[in-house]
Symmetry: C2
Amino acid sequence: MRAAVMRDSKIVVDDISAPTPGSGEVLVKTLACGICGSDLHTLIHGHQMVEMSRDNDGLFDMDLSRDVVMGHEFCAEILDYGPDTTGKLAVGTRVCAMPVLMRGGKMATAGYSNDVPGGFGEQMVLLESMMLPVTNGVSTELAALTEPMSVGYHTVEMARLQKDEVPLVIGCGPVGLAVITALKLKGVGPIIAADFSPARRKLAEQVGADVVVDPGINSPYETWTDLARADKTDGRDNPFDSGPKTRPGVYFECVGVPGVIDQLIAGAPRGGRIVVVGLCMEQDQFMPYRAITKELNIQFVLAYTGEEFASTLHNISEGLVNVEPMITGKVGLDGVADAFNDLGDPEKHAKILVEPWR
Amino acid sequence: MRAAVMRDSKIVVDDISAPTPGSGEVLVKTLACGICGSDLHTLIHGHQMVEMSRDNDGLFDMDLSRDVVMGHEFCAEILDYGPDTTGKLAVGTRVCAMPVLMRGGKMATAGYSNDVPGGFGEQMVLLESMMLPVTNGVSTELAALTEPMSVGYHTVEMARLQKDEVPLVIGCGPVGLAVITALKLKGVGPIIAADFSPARRKLAEQVGADVVVDPGINSPYETWTDLARADKTDGRDNPFDSGPKTRPGVYFECVGVPGVIDQLIAGAPRGGRIVVVGLCMEQDQFMPYRAITKELNIQFVLAYTGEEFASTLHNISEGLVNVEPMITGKVGLDGVADAFNDLGDPEKHAKILVEPWR
């Protein structure tokens, strides 16, 4: 099959062997697959990621001297069932799935594995147990957003928002946009979102932000304080409490570069909560004293549960979220390498979908 | 009055003017006042603390070129009432109080202020509204532990422990011991505590730790994993979950030096919670990726509420906690400078009380 392959830290198009479905697996035709920020990071910092992953969760356990086909945000069509499957969904059915398979008794992530190709190739294999049919006539493009939107959904679930809390989203790349979408769905607000890019701020408004801030002009934290101002606090009698009276705050870190967490710590109100979903893979610095005197809470989050993935596909299928504006480009396999470069410019792109059969 | 004064980063005994109670304030005779780790830190790193505090909460807003009488962990006796007071408690009554007063419309902390002397002097002024009588014949020494024990009580309250969670306390200085005491009171367990010092580990057992670990010999995190092992996890269906099945974990950071938070992040189980009460005033480093892949939660905590302070005095008065072993020395004002040095040796001391009239 044809695939856009990661080889020597470059994306090249090549003919490689198509995968064969193992026990419990299904062969599918990739219809569309989004390029994720983690894919960009892997292309450049792959060795570092593999190294760190080895000490930890094995999420990125790859041999980078061998080919890897990335792509874990896909919508696909059932081609053929492997052994030990039920065949419940008809061949030709469009499906989404969590990019998780088993290889040698260990979990493998489609797109971050030498053995399990991701969606930047014409065919993939999926675990039958992970497959969900795409229903309600929703487009393949929108269905392919299920995986990245699930990350936002999970993030907001993990934030356990109370109705009176005012959210601030720092960074309006695909992760921030997914968080804003999930916040909108929760009915909390006003949703305040900050990004240096005008195009990203416009997208933020389109998916549900009530107020957008250009941090080059206004402090997102001061804007938050103005909008969250309240007549009284939560009534706790801690005499060390000072500063303006505001509704409680939940700040979402959706950037993932060193220094941003410390900025959020400095900007957060007393008793504030910070939810970190931006995937910073480098050493970071912060001032614990600042977080201590404000009694901040920091929740780190990753990925999503199966239930959250299914809910997200449902929300997209039922038109409960407005995610179409996020798709800023579509390319065939020959366009993947350029798309990786183009995604560096937030004015031009948010999410580019790869259509391997284009 | 005589007082142990912080002057030019040294403790010297001198005769200084006694404070005069202002509106709503009460003049008291200091009976006993514990030396806190923050006092040791202030003597050495005072300028840095004042600097940082200025950008933040003003907790340590002092002019270090002028005298400061430290000491905020006190038990005192009522001498005289100032204007605008009710005089509800009889002169001669022993009292504890949160070390909080108002000066020029701003909060001032007794012991960290040029204007409000702390307990390392013969007399202090307190806000009448903050005073609580020492009842039930409890000793002055034990009553003086109310403030530091309140910090542990507040920390455990902020941890919002569930019954099945297994606590691990890193560092068994006075803060760690206060946390262990509060955990014991909550009835959770086993309580696992780690410290390099044999004397501190012994104290940890005396105040309620079920298992103590010498990190020089065994990993506290591996010990925790062994003791928290469980047949099943919390049932969440996140397929990225791996590692040994354990009961959920709450790790308490009671050390407060750079690098410890990152060690806890590295050692914590997936979904674990870290509560930071150790007051690190320096820049710190950590790896966000590790915290993200384990979806850790970090709660920073400081001080206590008025209700928690009152509950702590009650618990001490009713003999519900065993805190007497923490008192490892008593000195008069002439012994304060040496006591500051002696507290550097965890084998010799945990809490030294200053008795200004000794």
